[in-house]
């Protein structure tokens, strides 16, 4: 028997499934007895309307907010990306076709995208691994585990601006905590935010927040049946074997979920490079940490190229979509789903 996520698979036209057994009998009976098809279809529509009305009423607050503050502004932004909008000429915008999109692929945006992908390639696997390992450690029964969980989850609670300012003070060349610490050992200060070290400094800062996915990992770990560990132990599996052959496979859906979110989040890094650079929100960070979203932000709010910045954001949307599809396509090779009945 094949199951869908909602239970037994529906037949192509299953009146019973839609109207219930009693409703369908009445409906079919009415149609056969009177032969008045118009009345029947009106009854179907009314019945369908009554059935789905509560659903739409319940989701209407979200739907209205999504349409008003999500979909419509997004589509409006898409339209503006084909115009010469500069933030102030709202009443006289002109359609300029694909020229903003052509500029995205010709200008410095692609270099910024390359740096962003490089940071993502390093940051996401490391962050995923650290987050998962932390969750495994914090899933053990040790004294004070709740305190440890709180401490490791704390970075996820801090606002990104506060975190950025804190790391900026740590990395500062003059009077920075890290260099002050090095000076205790007579070591010369390092320019952590210079060309050589800035990407490393940024990645370290991002990894500091790896505990953000802790709750999801912990929830996943709690869902791994204890019986599997017991069976494996009876079969003579070592703790390492139990980890690699029981924990990891059963956690792959959770890892996959965090991986997809991690990639999307990493491609959208914006405030961290700007804030640790120590300038204002309109000051460009140095080139090694001048990432794609930073470029889009500065193009819009500093250089006043609103429509070009919007084109950059739509290009990023397509790239994120494609990367997500690629990751989804690979998932069949490494993500293990437990199917009912198997």
């Amino acid at each position: 028997m094949h199951y869908s996520v909602y239970g037994r698979r529906h037949r192509p036209f299953d009146v019973c499934a839609v109207y219930g057994e009693k409703g369908s009998e009445a409906l079919v009976g009415t149609m056969a007895y009177s032969g008045k098809t118009k009345t029947a279809s009106r009854t179907v529509r009314r019945s369908r309307f009554k059935k789905y009305l509560p659903f739409y009423l319940f989701i209407s607050p979200w739907l209205i907010v999504f349409l008003a503050l999500g979909l419509i502004p997004l589509l409006w932004g898409l339209y503006l990306s084909f115009t010469n909008y500069d933030g102030f000429n709202f009443n006289s915008v002109q359609w300029i076709g694909m020229s903003n999109y052509v500029q995205v692929f010709r200008g410095g945006a692609m270099a910024a995208l390359g740096r962003t992908i490089l940071i993502t390639v390093i940051n996401v696997p490391l962050g995923t691994a650290i987050g998962f390992m932390l969750a495994v450690l914090l899933n053990t029964k040790v004294k004070g585990v709740a305190i440890y969980r709180t401490i490791f989850y704390l970075p996820a609670v801090f606002p990104v601006v506060a975190t950025g300012l804190m790391w900026s003070a740590i990395y500062a060349d003059q009077g920075g905590m890290l260099n002050e610490f090095l000076s205790i050992f007579g070591l010369r200060p390092i320019n952590w935010l210079g060309y050589t070290w800035a990407p490393t400094a940024l990645i370290l800062m991002l990894l500091w927040g790896s505990g953000g996915a802790l709750l999801i990992y912990l929830a996943g770990l709690k869902g791994v049946p204890q019986s599997l560990y017991e069976s494996a132990a009876i079969d003579g599996a070592t703790p390492a074997q139990r980890f690699f052959h029981v924990t990891v496979p059963l956690m792959t859906p959770v890892i996959f979920f965090n991986l997809v979110l991690g990639i999307i989040g990493s491609l959208q890094i914006l405030l961290q490079p700007i804030i640790i650079s120590g300038g204002s929100l309109t000051t460009a960070p140095i080139m090694p940490i001048y990432l794609y979203m930073v470029d889009a932000w500065l193009q819009i709010f500093s250089l006043g190229r609103f429509s070009y910045g919007l084109a950059m954001l739509w290009v990023l949307f397509v790239i994120v979509l494609l990367l997500t599809l690629v990751v989804f396509a690979t998932s069949k090779y490494w993500v293990y789903y437990e199917a009912p009945g198997e």
């Binding site: 010469n84 500062a172 060349d173 009077g175 260099n179 010369r188 309109t282 140095i286």
Partner: protein
């Protein structure tokens, strides 16, 4: 603008003056406000709470029962303001840095021509205005002449030098002349001597700049020396950036060396503290800052404890160049062209820029008044305040000419592009000629598109 330090002396002085002014101007204000009888109108001001306090709003509303003032600090954020303008909800009075932004606001049709209102005003005497107010004049092509579009809150000659005599004595450097400006080259030379480095860590900086991009090239710190040489950073009609010109390159080389020698907080050697605070803390020997810094110096220890060691010196000059000491900000306001309550907005405008709040700002050492007759409110109670005031009055004659900011670039564009393309030069990753080529090309492209938009 600095914060508003409180002192009994200043409070009493302001209270006395303002109550007199308030009562005297009450009939005028009520006349303007009662244009629409019994209909309460709200005027929105895009200013910060430290610029327009609740007390100042309450005082106004007490005398103007038909006008309410709503303060909207979010409008000081350019992105928020852009959204407000796009949706037709901009504040009636918009805060701008006149020196750098007026042109772009007039060209985009955002700022309203206020000259007819100034001509009828009984609050403002235009003959009483300092020349720095001309930052808010626009003649259709450039600032300085033409009708008035707004006013500064206060103003300062933003490139004058505050210096710490104690640190000069320690470095065996003679004090600066109060009247004869030093050259930029001499400034760099003594700043290097005043910079103290221990184990690679800077213990004391020689020279800080309060704004822009720190002790490095920025729009203002490029335009000023270039203009002193009699040249411009822009072509005649502002259509091209001239960062590759010999004059600009000379200035850029000076700033590249300043960064390499770490004379002050800069893009390579960042310091989490604002340079003004470092000066107040005795960790910067020379701070380039206007008279608006006086209030903070007078009230912030440790410098406030030894005020006799703090002095002012004229704006540096390029060798053989013209001596000038203009303003670099002239932060103030314009009236939005889309305002629906011009009469009421003008009443609020006159109050904010010409009455009690203006007196409060000047009395608290936040800058120079826009009207010469208000110079009497500049702090002058202590010998140090009197000495600073005397020095400032001597330096007034250099407030013109105004700096030539590009009206198509506005406040942030040039500095963002400068930081993007000159940072690699500071780090030794690009040559100056490479950077200038990219910088000119980037700025020209932005100028071109904005020129096209402004023609429509």
């Amino acid at each position: 603008m600095g914060s508003k330090p409180s002192s009994l002396r200043n409070a009493l002085l302001v209270a006395g003056v303002a109550s007199t002014a308030g009562v005297a101007l009450f009939p005028l204000a009520v006349n303007a406000a009662t244009v629409q009888k019994h209909k309460i109108v709200t005027v929105t001001m895009g200013f910060q709470p430290n610029e327009l306090t609740n007390g100042e709003i309450a005082r106004f509303e007490k005398y103007h029962p038909y006008i309410r003032i709503k303060r909207d600090p979010s409008a000081t954020n350019p992105s928020d303001l852009a959204a407000q303008l796009a949706s037709g909800n901009a504040p009636d009075i918009i805060r701008i840095q006149g020196a750098q932004q007026l042109g772009s606001y007039v060209l985009r049709g955002i700022a309203k021509n206020l000259q007819p209102l100034f001509n009828k005003s009984k609050v403002f005497n235009q003959k009483d205005f300092f020349p720095a107010v001309n930052e808010y004049r626009w003649n259709g092509h450039q600032q300085g002449t033409g009708p008035l579009y707004g006013l500064p809150e206060t103003w300062s000659q933003d490139f004058t030098l505050w210096y710490n005599k104690k640190l000069f004595r320690q470095a065996h450097i003679p004090y600066l002349s109060p009247t004869k400006p030093i050259t930029w080259q001499y400034l760099m030379k003594i700043a290097k001597k005043l910079t103290v480095v221990k184990n690679g860590q800077v213990q004391q900086y020689g020279f800080g700049y309060w704004g822009g991009l720190g002790t490095a090239a920025s729009q203002s710190l490029m335009i000023l020396p270039v203009q002193e040489m009699g040249k411009s950073l822009w072509s005649a009609n502002y259509s091209h950036a001239l960062f590759s010109s010999p004059a600009a390159v000379k200035v850029e080389k000076m700033w590249v060396n300043a960064v390499k020698n770490n004379l002050g907080p800069n893009p390579v050697n960042k310091n989490p503290n604002w340079s003004g605070n470092l000066f107040l803390d005795g960790k910067i020997a020379i701070e380039m800052c206007g008279f608006w810094f006086e209030g903070s110096i007078a009230t912030t220890p440790p410098v406030s404890k030894d005020l006799k060691d703090i002095a002012m010196a004229p704006t540096p000059v390029w060798p053989g160049g013209k001596e000038m000491s203009p303003t670099g900000a002239a932060t103030g306001g314009v009236i939005w062209s889309g305002t629906k309550h011009l009469a009421q907005t003008w009443t609020v405008f006159q109050y904010f820029f010409g009455q009690y709040p203006e007196i409060y700002r000047v009395t608290h050492g936040e800058g120079l008044p826009i009207q010469k007759s208000f110079m009497k409110y500049v702090p002058h109670q202590t010998p140090w305040e009197r000495a600073m005031l005397k020095w400032q009055q001597q330096n007034m004659k250099y407030q013109l000419p105004l700096l030539k900011y590009n009206p198509y670039l506005g406040l942030m564009t040039a500095n963002t592009a400068i930081s993007q393309y000159l940072d690699p030069v500071y780090f030794g990753k690009a040559s100056l000629s490479q950077a200038n080529g990219q910088l000119n090309s980037e700025l020209d492209s932005i100028i071109r598109s904005r020129m096209q938009l402004s023609k429509k």
